[in-house]
């Protein structure tokens, strides 16, 4: 399982909800060396996007200073029932997606 998503299953219309995401990734900084002195090439996630029924509600640019297995928590207003889509993009063509649904009453 590459990503853990935490979105409330139900919310009141207009309420503010917290979204938490955790994805599995080494986030290799590109500044480390092996014991024999070789530079370990950078391999990080550079961008994260969250869409709510197709509209972008949160985006992040990530740098090597983000810890391995990037964790992100942010908020949004529960407007309508539907789907959250999450996308992580990174070095070496890395791309990963996940989704979660919500019922707004």
């Amino acid at each position: 399982m590459p990503a853990l998503i935490n979105v409330p299953a139900k919310a009141k219309r207009g309420g503010v909800i917290e979204i938490r995401t955790l994805t599995s990734h080494i986030m290799e900084t590109g500044f480390r060396h092996t014991v024999d002195g070789k530079l370990v090439p950078r391999d990080i996630i550079t961008s994260f996007t969250c869409r709510y029924n197709g509209d972008e509600i949160f985006r992040a640019d990530l740098f090597p200073a983000i810890a391995a297995n990037p964790y992100l928590s942010f908020f949004t207003v529960a407007k309508e029932s539907g789907k959250f889509e999450f996308e992580w993009i990174g070095d070496n063509g890395y791309s990963s997606t996940a989704s979660a649904s919500i019922i707004v009453e």
Binding site: V16, I17, T29, F31, R32, H33, T34, V35, D36, G37, V40, Y52, D55, I57, F58, R59, A60, D61, L62, F63, P64, A65, I66, A67, A68, P70, Y71, L72, S73, F74, F75, T76, V77, K79
Partner: protein
């Protein structure tokens, strides 16, 4: 192979003997207050940065710089006319000055973001928020790190 102390000294000595400016400059593997400043200017441009409105929750003393929890929040009503557009986090002494940029909007509801970061040294962390009226607000926090991240050797 990194240069040994002997190689370094003989190079430095040779340069001094020749009376020349060293041609080999060792690139510091560290952001400096100057690079921090230029990274901030890349984001805010010439705009004035005011203190306040932003809150940075980060432990003042961390044992392991590989994963440091951090929360940034901004005092804002988050309405269509008055909201936080983005939050930018910087550091002073990692190999690179940027930590993350977060883009929010009025639909965020609450201008608060949490993540886990790496810190290579005891240093200052700066968070800057851009509001919808294009004003910038900042806060800085000092963090003491006992085990550094980012540049250690791989096993």
């Amino acid at each position: 192979m990194p240069p040994t102390r002997r190689q370094f000294l003989s190079l430095a000595g040779g340069v001094t003997a020749a009376g020349a400016i060293p041609i080999v400059t060792l690139h510091p593997l560290q952001a400096t207050p100057a690079t921090l400043n230029s990274a901030i200017r890349n984001v805010v441009g010439e705009a004035q940065i005011r203190n306040g409105r932003v809150k940075l929750d980060i432990p003042p003393l961390v044992e392991n710089g590989n994963t440091v929890p951090m929360t940034v929040s901004v005092a804002s009503a988050m309405t269509a006319d008055d909201h936080v557009k983005s939050i930018h986090v910087f550091n002073e002494k990692n190999p690179q000055p940027n930590i993350a940029n977060f883009y929010l909007g009025p639909s965020s509801g609450r201008p608060q973001v949490s993540t886990r970061i790496r810190l290579a040294d005891t240093q200052k962390v700066v968070a800057i928020a851009r509001l919808s009226d294009d004003t910038f607000w900042q806060i800085a926090a000092d963090v003491v790190v006992t085990l550094a991240a980012c540049t250690e050797e791989m096993n």
